[in-house]
Symmetry: C2
Subunit: 429 residues, 2 copies
């Protein structure tokens, strides 16, 4: 089988597609600006739909403007295998985030179509709308998973105040149709997504493919430590209630907290710090900072939250500060479906591709889709871990390796090769 | 002598002056807005000059618009004792910073004038222009000490872009006259300044007067630590080059650095921290922060600078960061004149006022004047250490105690009471 696959995937054709789509929404700074539901994004959707048709797929758009290309199965009524990702971008993006997953899926289905075989179950390639969050993020996959409410449609607006509903109407779309994009879980067999890693793990460990076992959950707190703003010259060190020193204490406790209560997959980041009044000659009276904590195990997340709260309480007591926090978000981790993960790993082994099991530290459409069907993901390396930047890149060899593994997994799942098809295992979360 | 002094200082009259001047430039938020060379500041100068004349002083303004009131001495040619401070304010100021020193001096000279005695040497009360820094700070005392150059006058402008020279011309003043405000050091015998402490030391130690022995020097660095901005979810902890963790490391080294290389008067403050990109889900790629270090001993300042540089170099190496810094300022510490300090301390003891020797952690006109004649300062307590705020206050009892000590020091210095007059001891720095 691997010889056949080698012949079927054309890296030249795939990289041609990548280059062509990268012309849509490119600005003079070299970055892509294909933010959800902009003119560029809509032209991207049109381009993709045309390419899908050329690949022999039946195309349509659902109520959330997700672009769907379908390859019919021998049993048209059977639950569907979905291959998904997104083609919308952040501002000043690179050409691979999301797009690579969609175009790799396209190349796989095109190759299968050319080979002439028919899968036992239908396969759909879906480019989900607004993964990147112009209007909040994961709009398309949320609609697909039935997570959108009328309130979402009514309230969502971008940073410039444009309302989602008005923007959709401007494209001749009925925003309320998004409520009908929901797919019955019974009609879904599984979901596969290829994505760039957006991290350094694969490139540092010289692997070509990451077999994703879980997608991390996360919580974000905004913490405020309040002390007393004092003159930096007239206030002796021992009479200070320096809010920043509280932040520094906490930063130093973080490695201990992760060692004691975290797993090897735990991450904790202080990414934003604001000091008040924030002048060089004033002891900071207040410090506000963000703490972003991730793990693939929700029990671990809870333990980390408790430990962090204890540490901050003790620091505040010791430094005579007041400690407050607000939970900005709490996102549940998702386990990938073990049988799907196994199929991806087997395909990688068969293709002779250097691979490792790993977690995803970033959120993806797969995380939303996991609420309605079994999912698995595969990663390809990100050069220097870069993403959300024109510097984003993956070596063509690695892209080819990822596409071959994806094709192997699809053949296993939808053609019954290598292993029996997994059924809908329900919500694995 | 102390009985006489008790009768001479009128705290009611002094507090009446304070209240009256506090009406000039007061805004609806309760704060004073008497920034240098605003209409309010000029009205304040007029009010002060009128009060000086009523107190029997000969008044004039020098080329820097410093308001000067002179009490003639038995020897009009003798070097002068100067009593100084300022009446300009920061925006939204309290009523005591600077003003208390000027009005206490006024009350002392008024009391001496009423008592009818004539000092052996002339005494001048000076309200220096722009101590607070609308146009850079210490403009009046720098002109007095001959530290102003044509370039200063040409370049200085406020935060709104108003040029100092044009603002002075708007008040009918010739800005170039500031170059002629310089006083020959041979004509100056000494300088005394009373000021609110702007710190918590006196109130926490329940003292009424601080006898200032030295004014701290300081250096300010802007430090940049550069690492790599990475995704907070996809980047394992051990693969990070987190610039903020470098700042936290450094904050934790500061107490050790002060213990090992500083004195009990050393202060070090991180007052400003900016993280780049500064988003919750990105490992900070760059951290820029201020470090403000003060001591009364320049050798100690140099040792602290070396130790801080070593610590940051080591942290940068350990965390794989790049370390750069810029020296924003280096201000030399100033020793007060021991004989003048002794006179202030003797006056305090004689008045039965609870007092302690201490340093000034903030900069004052005295620091500039010290370049041309011996200086001493006395502090009165700041309620809760507050300053540069409408909450600034000192109990009237403590103000009265400060005024009595100031009067005692003036009598010692200019009337030859208690101790022999000190001559010009030259620049003590």
């Amino acid at each position: 089988m691997s010889t056949t696959q080698d012949q079927m995937i054309s890296i030249d054709r795939l990289s041609g597609d990548l280059r062509e789509l990268a012309e849509i929404g490119r600005a003079e700074d070299g970055g892509l600006y294909r933010m959800a539901f902009t003119e560029a994004d809509m032209r991207g959707k049109d381009w993709l739909e045309q390419r899908m048709r050329e690949a022999g797929l039946e195309t349509r758009r659902d109520g959330a403007a997700n672009v769907i290309g379908r390859m019919e199965g021998r049993d048209p009524e059977a639950p569907v295998l979905v291959i998904g990702s997104h083609i919308d971008t952040v501002p000043c993006a690179g050409m691979l985030d999301g797009t690579l997953g969609v175009l790799t899926g396209l190349e796989c289905l095109r190759a299968l179509h050319e080979a002439g075989g028919k899968p036992s179950i239908p396969i759909e390639l879906i480019a989900f709308s607004d993964e990147e969050g112009r209007f909040g993020g994961m709009f398309g996959s949320q609609a697909f998973a039935g997570q959108i409410t009328p309130d979402t449609i009514h309230q969502a607006s971008d940073l410039d105040g444009n309302k989602l509903s008005e923007v959709l109407e401007g494209h001749g779309l009925d925003p309320w149709e998004a409520l009908h994009a929901r797919r019955d879980p019974e009609t879904l067999a599984g979901y596969l997504e290829l994505h760039i890693e957006q991290g350094p793990v694969l490139s540092k460990s010289r692997q070509q493919v990451g077999v994703v076992e879980a997608i991390t959950g996360l919580f974000k707190w905004t913490v405020t430590l309040s002390g007393e703003p004092n003159h930096a010259g007239t206030t002796p060190m021992r009479m200070r209630r320096d809010a920043f020193m509280g932040v520094a204490d906490f930063a130093h406790e973080l490695p201990r907290i992760l060692d004691e209560n975290g797993s090897k997959r735990s991450r904790a980041t202080i990414g934003r710090v604001e000091l008040v009044p924030g002048s060089a000659n004033t002891v900071p009276g207040e410090a506000r900072f963000s703490i972003d904590v991730r793990d693939t195990d929700e029990t671990v997340m809870h333990e980390l939250a408790i430990s962090i709260g204890k540490a901050l309480t003790a620091i505040a007591r010791r430094r005579k500060l007041r400690f407050d926090y607000e939970t900005e978000s709490w996102i549940h981790p998702v386990d990938c479906n073990p049988r799907l993960v196994g199929m991806v790993a087997e395909a990688a082994a068969e293709c002779g591709v250097r691979h490792r099991r790993m977690e995803s530290g970033a959120a993806h459409d797969a995380q939303i889709v996991a609420r309605v069907c079994p999912v698995a993901m595969l990663f390809v390396p990100s050069k220097d871990g870069r993403s959300h930047s024109p510097a984003e890149w993956t070596a063509l060899d690695d892209i080819e390796a990822g596409a071959r593994v994806m094709l192997g997994a699809i053949r296993r799942f939808a053609f019954g090769e290598g292993e029996a098809t997994v059924g809908n295992a329900g919500n694995p979360g």
